[in-house]
Symmetry: C2
Subunit: 154 residues, 2 copies
Amino acid sequence: MVKRTRFNDSDCPVARSIDAIGDWWSLLIVRDAFDGSRRFGEFQRGLGVAKNILAARLRTLVDGGILDVVPASDGSAYNEYVLTPKGRDLFNVIVALRQWGEAHFFAPDEPHSEMVDRRHGHPLRALEVRSTDGRRLNAGDTVVNKVGHPGRGT
Amino acid sequence: MVKRTRFNDSDCPVARSIDAIGDWWSLLIVRDAFDGSRRFGEFQRGLGVAKNILAARLRTLVDGGILDVVPASDGSAYNEYVLTPKGRDLFNVIVALRQWGEAHFFAPDEPHSEMVDRRHGHPLRALEVRSTDGRRLNAGDTVVNKVGHPGRGT
DNA sequence: TTCGATCGGTTGCATCTTGCTACCAGCCGA
DNA sequence: TCGGCTGGTAGCAAGATGCAACCGATCGAA
């Protein structure tokens, strides 16, 4: 099976990332992996996804270098799925999605799962996009150079 | 049409975010909106997506409060799609995906579209997850409290 | 004002993907 | 050795996706 690329602008890192992750289930698998899930059954119970879908997603995540299959840590004959360094680098993505969701989809007092600093149990500081010299940037302060179109693009 | 919720753990902000965005095309639409696309035709040419898919995605993004339909800024009778504040808050998500893609899917010298600081033309600083008191955190320094399971969860 | 081109879609249809259920082969403890 | 758990695969129905054709409104030029 040749690797299909779904999007036509594959020189954009955003598109390549999206293509590599595959689908939303995959991202939820990664989220659960960050939260400590390792075994097939853990993911299945945590996500409520059909087993064939889960099996396929785990396979593509392993093929994509985001998860690794390792022998179970508890001595049983089963395997475990653990994040590779590349998979752990998705942490920012998960945190960004989480903070966006917290900001826009929950009433102020509505209970929800919450990511906290392990040391103090405090919520995290909001992510901030910064320039190399440390200024805070928002979308309007940035510009995307398409390949072949360097510079500001008058 | 009742709002379907695809994922069973809707108390997780990550899952709600994913549900709200809808699919990957929607996120690429948002990316193009950040890059300045406003018109139906611009999105269609930029993404190479089928028109019926694009029309459906634009509708869900508008319904979801991520895009707004406004009269065209050039005086023509057509409409434009612009990001709402909620949509602009996806900036961190886009940047996180972009940085992950840059780090893992391009050779060091491979050309790719690049987001730079408008003022100096420099690339952005890598996103950093921090605690409220400013320490840098990575995945292992955080813990997710599920609703109904407060505390560290031994 | 007329005419052709463009814009912004909608509709129908074939195909691909998804998700459900059933099934099944190893493991595992007793 | 037996019964239940784990980690899948197989088949099938339903829904999503993508392509192409079509279409009315609008625009620009003559």
